[in-house]
Symmetry: D2
Subunit: 362 residues, 4 copies
């Protein structure tokens, strides 16, 4: 999704993005704790292996885990791993991979193309996916060769796919011989929002590869590509290395993930972010002028504000991005209104939410 430029403001009521928050105390402390001594480079250290074990427990099966530095790298390298000549990746028209990664999926996969699919709430439907795939009959060399399906959980509209919706998409994808990738930059928020088990909204529903994001939920820079069938990960380490995404001091990622996953810390962080988003959404719903464009499933609230309210909030120091109206296929935006995105994080306080809501109703 496209964002208008905004002046940077360090004040509170900062709902610009969850990637504006720093790191949780436990994550930061873990990094310091990992600073000492020597450890083998390139992920061959015990800490890194421990993260794979933790994720295998969380996902209830042995998974293959590859750390990378950014969500864009996780997405693009996943798709590059399953790329085919003339490859076509099916995704929603508002998917992050299609709009916000500067062509990384295309570049790192050697020239794949993204086939955009419409769908309300930034969700692809099984029917929409089947229709899109049908445009590429197996022998029609001209149009290109289907290669993968990618969905986002949370979506770019802050909504979540249910396990059943994912399973329906996976069926269509697998029927066509395509792996299903999930961009989980906000996977924890979706998980907590759905109240689901990690396995149920991933491999049990047919997800083959997951970009498992920690950065937006309390880490500095901790992303991983997870393969639910480790056999299918063969060669991925070369993919990662030749894209420059193998960290030598890999422990700086594993330390973050260790603290992140320990004692359900990641879920606590996401629960906090989601709860403040809910509080914010409730306040908006109950306000006289503002209203929700969509019901949030996680930590992103899309709201429609009267322009006067927007001006008042900005003047008071609130920070958030205007969003392109119409992108969400939600409520209509009147000429004297604005569609805005408000993102909460592990760091968001009830105090700043309440202050924001108070300003709505002045």
């Amino acid at each position: 999704m496209r964002q208008t430029r905004m002046p940077f403001d360090m004040s509170t009521m900062n709902f610009a993005s969850d990637n504006w928050a720093g790191a949780s105390d436990r994550v930061a402390a873990a990094l310091v704790g990992a600073a000492g001594g020597h450890a083998p480079a390139y992920g061959n250290d015990p800490l890194s292996e421990g993260v794979t074990e933790a994720l295998s427990r969380i996902f209830e099966r042995r998974v293959a885990v590859f750390f990378v530095g950014t969500g864009t790298a996780a997405n693009a390298l996943s798709l590059a791993h399953v790329a085919r000549p003339g490859g076509v990746v099916f995704c929603h028209r508002h998917a992050h991979i299609a709009n916000d990664e500067a062509g990384a999926p295309e570049f790192l996969s050697g020239g794949s193309r993204l086939h955009s699919i419409e769908g309300t709430g930034a969700r692809v439907t099984a029917d929409g996916l089947a229709e899109a795939i049908a445009l590429y009959p197996p022998h029609a060399v001209f149009h290109g060769q289907p290669a993968a399906v990618s969905i986002s959980q949370l979506t770019e509209a802050g909504t979540a796919y249910s396990a059943a919706e994912i399973a329906a998409l996976a069926d269509v994808a697998h029927e066509a011989g395509l792996p299903l990738h999930m961009d989980g930059a906000r996977f924890a928020n979706a998980l907590v929002g759905l109240g689901a088990r990690p396995a149920d909204i991933t491999w049990r529903a047919g997800v083959d590869m997951l970009s498992f994001g920690g950065t937006k939920n309390g880490c500095f820079a901790a992303e991983a590509v997870i393969f639910f069938d480790p056999e299918k990960a063969r060669g991925f380490e070369f993919q990662r290395k030749r894209a420059g995404h193998l960290f030598s001091k890999s422990r700086f990622v594993s330390a973050q993930f260790s603290a992140y996953l320990e004692d359900d810390h990641w879920l606590d962080l996401a629960r906090h972010a989601n709860a403040t988003a809910r509080r914010l959404a409730d306040g908006i719903e109950q306000s006289p002028g503002a209203h929700l464009a969509l019901q949030p499933d996680g930590n992103e609230v899309f709201a429609i504000l009267p322009r006067a309210v927007d001006a008042r909030l900005k003047a008071a120091g609130a920070v958030y991005y205007e969003w392109h109206a119409g992108n969400l296929a939600g409520e209509a935006v009147a000429p004297d209104e604005l569609l805005v995105r408000l993102v909460t994080s592990f760091r968001t306080t009830d105090v700043e939410v309440d202050r924001f809501v108070g300003l709505l109703t002045q």
Copy 2:
């Protein structure tokens, strides 16, 4: 250079690599300090701008700085930035880009090829470079189009180029219309080893782009591509983003670099590493059986050990890599000897050096 596989060992006398050390206390503390609050994502924060200012002071001119996560990314993206169709990059046969980056320079630059040049001590000479370039006459479309020259400082043999040597190479490169890139994964060690000013061994000598490494010298993961002419950096931000190397919480790199550069901390760290390397080299030179393959200019010591001594050191827990004999064109290696690489770091202690040296002479 090629390394044989080794069992991992966490004991002291760890000379495996400077990327086995964690992070310096100041760097680790800075990360914790940067964990709080909100900051604009993607490098638009004051901390990131401060690093550019610090580097501009250090290099005595306004530079353009781009953080990336790994040295491989820094090198490959630099070269991708100046790539040409059928592009040829000239480098030493033992260059890191040619041997240890899994084809990242080729991949990220869209299929460039590396033309390897011989040279003692892993150094390219101006004559060697001129000869190599001459193999690609301007209109010989078949052979490919020269695109760049890349040298390493320190080299893969632990040697440093003098300012005069660099200037001679830059003259040859520029004469042919080629930018000069420097892989500075161990730039601080070279700088301290030469006792030079940063500007004198970079842009004043004709270097156009520098991979400025912090990781091997006390950071967790802090690398930067520096353009000495910011005009020539145009478009690099797209290059970086589409390779997945733009960190959202960019402050996690800028915090490291801030602490790293402040109060000459980076130079202190490198001085320490170099001093322990010198102490180690002296010990080896004075030992009865072992000897140096090359005089070290930084923190890498290439030594030739009798196999019996090697066995004794290993048994005592020393960790280091065997190196391919002959790679360095230094002293000859006898059948009952081994060429090994010993790397010191900011973390190396005199105690472990002395223990290692003591074992040589038993």
Copy 3:
């Protein structure tokens, strides 16, 4: 545009595509004439130089000409030549480059993406283009970097851009710093259809690069990339060679082009194709049940046929492709109708057109 599979039929009334026709007698004879003797390879022969001269005369300025083997190569290499990291190429949603080249533009340009623009008759409008470009503000690294605009002449709907329309598009493109590429696979048909001078619908209107197609209009395999500013062609020869598109016996292309361009042979061929298309279109317009979806500007007729008529034509041996209804934003297609594409060529006879038209009215 997407085509349904059809049984191959070698009968007359063949309107499948102009690339089903062989070569004109003059072109075939020229090839035989060029078979003897020795000539320098790789385009350094007098015959190849003669083609550049002929094209320079035709376009009323000195042009740079590069032969390639296919229209896809011409388009993709043109766009690769002006590619940028994260590059975005603007084109119509039905453009050949977007639908029928299996991702060649993306692949050969190192991962560019195509931004599709809607527009009736497969034509991009200046407003539509300006709106699309505005989605990529210069510093928004996430969305990608605009790199080029590509239009087709004839379009995929068989329509032509007027000189004024092209100039308006070029203004928008150049304002944004983007070169304008024209896919001229059916350039001769457009030229003749418009009754224009070659210069007026290319460089004088702002076109920077032209894929100049000969294959569909009477050659076996003769395509060229033309740069109207030869300075801007610098390095293209490496682009072509590294994609495997430099023919050693280049004369086999130059011989075709020589005969093709001599004595206005190419215009005669196109005039013939267009005239038979017009005759076909007139017949359809005057028929009781069939009607035109769009008025043709060249040699492609999009018609809407009652399904009963379609069956009758097929039974009589007519060959043509069904087209996706709605693609053309022309006349509506009823459930008992089909949208079809009928392509004429230099080889089409009035006899077969009349036979086809006769079958419409039975």
Copy 4:
């Protein structure tokens, strides 16, 4: 191999290259014969299918055949088809793919690298290959991942591999899990030179993919990639299309190949070229001053000429390229001598050979 620039000269005694000759009468006539009528585009025509059948008969098994326009495309697309991330292709240091294709193999395979192997007569030995592969242990992600082995038949030194030599190389390649590709730009000359059956020096000896060249031996532009196991060709059609190498009027290639393969025409053409090469070689051997650098196995003669003789030949209008001394590891070249390459073709006459030889002895 590298060539010095030479003035173009259209005189007889033209030994510049077999790609300076035009096309054989039968090939040219076949093209004219195929110019009429309509045929399905993109290789779905009976003529194209006939070529696959002819090649299947010739190779004594069902093969998959893909036409492309150039030898560079055939080689690069073959290697791209088996590319892996960080992929390494093993070939001789003088291989055409390594020196004369402007990086096409690297580019089209998404950044593979070529590992050059030394060997006399431009031949790789099984031991040399095994040694090179051993430099890439399976888990050493840094060095890259072996992907393929490529040999040339004829080699760049005009020598041929025997069936036994090929089988030994194939054993080493397959042991390492690598497919064996053969660059057969001069396959017919090698075949005739060895007096072998096509199957015996290809798939029976372990060759997996063959670049089957017709261009240098009497065609205008006819090259094919042959897969000896059609199952392994899956997806290649997308590879070819996205590189722009699928011809629409595919019959222009199939017509050439039809005539080329019919009645052993291709073998007759090669026999003629080889015989004139042998005549030339014999003349050189018996001359007082000139001598052979290597015994030719096909239609390329590498000779060492006194400079005075060279001047005399040039003055008389002979055309040939000087070759880099030392490339062939054959006879030494004295300071007053030149190493030159003399290539014969289907078009070379005994008269011009004898005139050339006569000039040697004046």
